[in-house]
Symmetry: C2
Subunit: 143 residues, 2 copies
C-alpha cells in the first residue's frame, strides 16, 4: 500500500469515495441512473495484463465482491465489468448493474450520463450496506 | 472441457474462430476497424464473479495473453478488456486494441461497427501470429 498513491482527480470528480478494501478504493459514480461502481487498485500499472498474478487475483476478488453486492442489493439483471481507461489511464475497473429496462440496455453505459444525482444520505446508506456485505471494507472518512 | 459446449451463434456470426487456448475459444471480430478479439471459456456460467477461482485465473491468463499480443502485434496504445454480455449472455471477454486516432477514441467501441472486413488471408496471418505468440494455442480447423 503506497502512501504516495493518489486517486485521479477525474475519478474523484465523477464518483463518491465509499471506502477501501485492502489496497483498492471503491467509488460510486455520481450518476444515479444505475448502480455503477469503480474499483481502483493502488498501483501505477495501467493495463490489467501487466499486474503481477497475485495483485490481479486480489483486485478481482474485490471487483467480484462489489459485483455480487450490486447483484443482490440492487437486484441487477446483469453485471458489466470492464477496464477501459481511454480517458483516465489510472487503472480502474467498472462494475455496473444493468437492467433489461434501463435506459441504455442493451448498449454499454460509457458515453451516456444522466443528470440524476444521489443525495448524501442515499450514498451513506449504500456505503454502509457495502461495508456490511464485504468483510474488511473500511469506510472512507473524508467523504 | 465439456463436449456439449457450443459457441453462441451470434458470436460466430460476428467473429471468426481463430482457435483455442485450453478450454477457451479465441475469436476475431469481423469488423476490421480495430483489433477486437473475444475469449470465450467453455462454461455455462454467465457472470465472471460466479467462476471458481481457478477457472477465473485460467481465463484471465488467456485474456491477458491475447491482450499482450494485441498490444505488440498491432501496436495498440491502450487495451480495453470487458465482460458485458447484455446481448449475448454466453460468457465472453472482449480484448480490444485502441488507438488515440481510432474513429471511436476515447469512447467505447460497443455499439459502433464499420463495414470494413478482413479477407481470409489476413485473418489467417493474424491467427498464425497469435499461435506463434501463445504457447498451447490450437488453430481452429473448421475456419
Amino acid at each position: 500500500m503506497s502512501t504516495s498513491f493518489e486517486l485521479d482527480a477525474r475519478l474523484l470528480g465523477a464518483a463518491a469515495r465509499l471506502g477501501r478494501l485492502g489496497d483498492s478504493h471503491v467509488l460510486l459514480m455520481h450518476d444515479a441512473a444505475l448502480p455503477w461502481f469503480l474499483v481502483v487498485p493502488e498501483t501505477e500499472i495501467i493495463e490489467l495484463c501487466d499486474l503481477p498474478a497475485a495483485t490481479h487475483a486480489r483486485l478481482f476478488e474485490r471487483v467480484h465482491g462489489v459485483g455480487r453486492f450490486v447483484r443482490s442489493y440492487f437486484s441487477a439483471d446483469k453485471l458489466n465489468v470492464a477496464a477501459i481507461g481511454n480517458i483516465v489511464p489510472q487503472l480502474h475497473v467498472h462494475v455496473i448493474g444493468r437492467y433489461r429496462d434501463d435506459p441504455y440496455w442493451p448498449g454499454p453505459v460509457w458515453g451516456h450520463s444522466s443528470d440524476e444525482r444521489r443525495d448524501a444520505p442515499t450514498i451513506a446508506t449504500i456505503r454502509d450496506a457495502l461495508a456490511a456485505a464485504l468483510p474488511g471494507f473500511e469506510i472512507a472518512t473524508d467523504g
